[in-house]
Symmetry: C2
Subunit: 376 residues, 2 copies
């Protein structure tokens, strides 16, 4: 056992592999950014491939590699299941997966773990059935959970080296210009996916809405994409606002939100130009609704809201109570629509959102963050 600076004992194999906590700034040191391996695309080369199978073949994916996915569709995601099913069929084994989160919809992952297709997982979230199955001991290697900002940090520094990112693209042209605000299944911001696209050696865009060239706005540019695949459907947009991102009507959750809003409005931070963020969870997301009345009563406006954006924050933007929304992810459909329509609703990537090893993340400028916790 190794003791960290908080006097907690950490088993030696993990201490060796990941280090132990040594204080808030112990690892904030200069470093060389991860360099991706680029296969230049020549003129007249088409990036369009006929199927997910063909895309996997084209990338040369093989046993032991690391692949990634984004979770912007949350409980409505079809992409991870489609890709892993094809990989399993092709007999590729021993993969590490590094999605930005894992939801209940990814239950088929349990079989892929049991069959040895997936043997390592690093993620930011891990919910419900998949989480329970892993807790029951189906994996040999421990799962590495990092915060969203910590995942961006790990990718930027090369601690996570993504060989192939398979990215659901609500809309893309044939050359890989992607956004999340147009197409059949919009998810709004692609903030987590942008990081995978930027640092992965190879990127496969999987879309159900192929647009004429050039597709704009460009959240992920053609210079970050190697292959484009068209499929029937990449996700169910109604799945975004399920589970942890639901619009709560639960009286207990609303009461907690009301109390949290009261703590904020009675604090010294509640003044003109303040900024705030709300995380997932019914109570947490409901806080913005309670802040509104206090802002109107006291004539206070926020300079920006950060998130994890839901419709309550969009309403504050429309009312002029929030000047700008800085958006790494959308939690419901109205927020995704707002991102496409309102120039003051601005998309950023996960590195800018919260990486502690960036040249300064937005969270460093944030006054108030409301996060949900199961236990305190």
């Amino acid at each position: 056992m190794v003791k960290n600076t908080l006097n907690r004992e950490i088993p030696e194999p993990y201490a060796d592999q990941y280090g132990v906590y040594g204080g808030e700034f112990a690892n904030i040191k200069p470093y060389d950014e991860h360099a991706r391996h680029i296969n230049p695309v020549k003129p007249d080369h088409s990036k369009l491939v006929a199927s997910i199978h063909d895309a996997i073949v084209a990338t040369g994916l093989k046993d032991g590699m690391t692949i990634s996915f984004h979770h912007h569709f949350r409980e409505g995601d079809y992409v991870m299941n489609m890709v892993l099913a094809e990989i399993a069929k092709m007999g590729i084994k021993n993969l590490s997966i590094a999605p930005s989160s894992i939801a209940n919809v990814h239950e088929p992952l349990i079989e892929h773990i049991k069959n040895g297709v997936v043997t390592n997982i690093t993620s930011s979230g891990l919910r419900d059935k998949v989480g329970a199955a892993i807790s029951s001991g189906i994996m040999k290697n421990p799962v590495v959970i990092r915060s969203h900002g910590g995942r961006a940090r790990a990718i930027a520094r090369g601690d996570i080296h993504i060989d192939v990112a398979f990215l659901g693209a609500p809309s893309s042209d044939e050359y890989g210009n992607i956004n999340g605000t147009k197409g059949k299944a919009t998810c709004g911001s692609l903030g987590y996916a942008m990081i995978d696209a930027k640092y992965a050696d190879q990127v496969v865009a999987i879309t159900d809405s192929l647009m004429p060239y050039p597709n704009t706005p460009i959240s992920i540019p053609q210079t970050d994409v190697d292959y484009v695949v068209q499929v029937d459907a990449i996700g169910d947009p109604t799945g975004i606002a399920k589970g942890a991102t639901r619009f709560t009507k639960n009286p207990k959750e609303l009461k907690i939100a009301e109390y949290a809003a009261e703590v904020i409005t009675k604090s010294a931070y509640f003044k003109n130009g303040f900024s705030f963020q709300t995380g997932t969870g019914g109570s947490s997301l409901a806080v913005a609704r309670f802040l509104r009345q206090a802002m109107l009563d006291q004539d206070i406006k926020a300079s920006f809201a950060l998130g994890g954006i839901n419709n309550s924050m969009v309403e504050l933007l429309k009312e002029g109570l929030v000047e700008k929304i800085i958006d790494v992810q959308d939690f419901d459909h109205p927020s995704a629509v707002s991102l496409g329509e309102n120039a003051d609703h601005y998309e950023i990537d996960a590195n800018m959102y919260a990486s502690p090893l960036s040249k300064g993340a937005v969270i460093n400028q944030l006054d108030i963050a409301i996060l949900s916790a199961l236990e305190i």
Copy 2:
């Protein structure tokens, strides 16, 4: 002497240092992207420094390093002269400069070369007095000229390693979120500067319009900026549309433009969904004006115009004759305004514009390019 594949003789020292031409695709090979050295910014750290002098001190700039500048202000640029004057005063010598172009306004560079402050130059343009002085033999080392796309390629592959980029920012907040469409001296697209910001180890934003946080839209994000300096003026926006980017009334240039437009409209490429680009030079930029009538007469619309954007192209966008403008640089004030106002006028970086080692540049999708040449 070494012979290249075109049977031209290249002096051996240069052949050794830069290689010789071996065919169109001889150097289009997989490679590891350049990795910048990042100094993470901790919470509560301010990026704001009091002067250009203090910024130079903060970066630790020393003899022999490489610094860069962008040329989006063209003949109206104040930044390169201000920074080099301060560097000269501080006694730093033997610098390599890697601006995206050098204009007549940079005449003071001649003295910096003679005094040994600047001993190496790589650029994409080199005009008038500075060009003439260098041709007369004031430099020991040869100047390396690369195309705009070739410069982006060289930076992305690490052939040009920028230690410090000094970037004129028409508007920036204190944390380095920059755009070129707001502020006292707007230049529109920051396409060339975006590459410097992305790959340089350190980036100094020099602005005369400090905005409240967060400044949007974000052409260069806070995650690419180390220091922010406020000065009285960074440039004269009226200088953008001088010289090579003038709106010509010269009858000879207009005649050439008319002929060029005729070649285009009578070619097989002139059909619905075609795309075109016009480079600098009076004739070249005037071609769009002559294309317009043929497009109206034959009911033909372009899918996109690429550039190097001027007001003639913006007028085509407004008329619906061009669906989108893809913009790496603006050649006049109306184009800069359009970029800020029209969602179909879209900003891209120089890598996406034209790098032959990217995952596919926009020029690969381009039907027609009109370039000016002094001799053919």
